[in-house]
Symmetry: C2
Amino acid sequence: MHEFDPGVVREPYLSLARDFPGEDVYPTDDFRTEWGPVFHRGRLDGTARVLVIGQDPAQHEAIVRRILVGTADRRVQGFLARLGIDRSYVMVNTFLYSVFGQQGGQAHAEDPEIAKYRNSWLDALVTDNEVEAVIALGSLAGTAFGMWRESGPIGAAFDGTFHKIIHPTFPESSGDHAAAMARLTASWNEGLEALHPAVSHPDHARQLVPYGPELTAGDLTPVPAADFPLGLPDWMRSEQPWAVRTGATAAEKRATVVVTIPPDLRPF
Amino acid sequence: MHEFDPGVVREPYLSLARDFPGEDVYPTDDFRTEWGPVFHRGRLDGTARVLVIGQDPAQHEAIVRRILVGTADRRVQGFLARLGIDRSYVMVNTFLYSVFGQQGGQAHAEDPEIAKYRNSWLDALVTDNEVEAVIALGSLAGTAFGMWRESGPIGAAFDGTFHKIIHPTFPESSGDHAAAMARLTASWNEGLEALHPAVSHPDHARQLVPYGPELTAGDLTPVPAADFPLGLPDWMRSEQPWAVRTGATAAEKRATVVVTIPPDLRPF
């Protein structure tokens, strides 16, 4: 049997998905609006206990049409597993579109129009689900959560546990990889301490086991097939990157995603 | 408002989609199983009046995850429009996976295991919808329809009108393009004559207007956004090709799809 995620098929998400903001809200100088919005990953059926707020979709996400499906996102999946959460989660991003350029995200961290639509999703998610914990991946996601709390009665009334952890790809964007890994695992261990007791209804009850000084292969959990749209091949969930932006000019690179099946996962 | 197709979200299609055949039924020498199955395009909500049987998905379909979305498929969309059908259709293919090599399709035209699963879909579609007309695109699709008719009581009892027309990309695979176009439009006009009276419940009643000796720009109808998954950008429905298989070796080419936004459709 092949599991898959049907995506947005019911209210309150259907109405939100039919009315997403475009270039008038997300300027094309700062966002790759040309690849379309990518909305979520995980449960939209009311069964989510943990809500993850990420940053923005990248090239793998543009093909899969689900967020947080890159290879580093196995780290997030492993973090959820330590909370006993294997299925009862839902993820949305700070930004609906991929950030373009170094400062694109920071410049729009407190953009009220972007926040308005994002807050509609957060309102819908905590209303439709019994969310016990919210995890922000990185500072932009943390800001997004704070803005939502201030945005209206649903955010103000939320009484679950919130914790911000360092973004899963922080070590890759840092010069000193070992030091960055140590910072990340320390941050994630703090997150586990705060969040583990808050998740009263895990999918599988698990003792809290902290991370070592760096993430190892055993700390990575594959993204489940049940999170992917129907028919996508399994290599799209492999630990190897398979989508890259390439091009001879900046414009060509922005306009191109090359999808390549990893060599050892080809059946031919 | 942005329309989109939620895809497979209800029975009888859900069970079929969770249990599709893999490499044991579709050999990798003849089919690009590595890109995953692509199931349908159009309505799976019981409202289809016309059923289209195509051949197999190609590279655009591997990204969109819907069949018959290539630029030539605007021809099919235009054919449906002449029948008064703008929305009340559903399309499935003879093959769930892209055919690899010249003879891959022909060699499996009467493959019983491939037919078995395909017949389950055809049974489901004519049971779930009040199908008035079935259109086969090309000879392999025609064979598929014939095998279904022989396969059991549901196929045998089908009393709608069937017609096979020349495959929409026949002119592109033919040496004499003008002659091939003349053959195609003659075939499609015969199809209109047979099918137009059979479609008793068109979305919009339209007088039968035959094609001229070749297809012109006015004969092409864009694939509706309502047929595409949520969030896909509009340029994926443009008249320009945007997905190509490239690679220095045959294996690399088989493993690669390059997605490039057409230059005049880039917002940057």
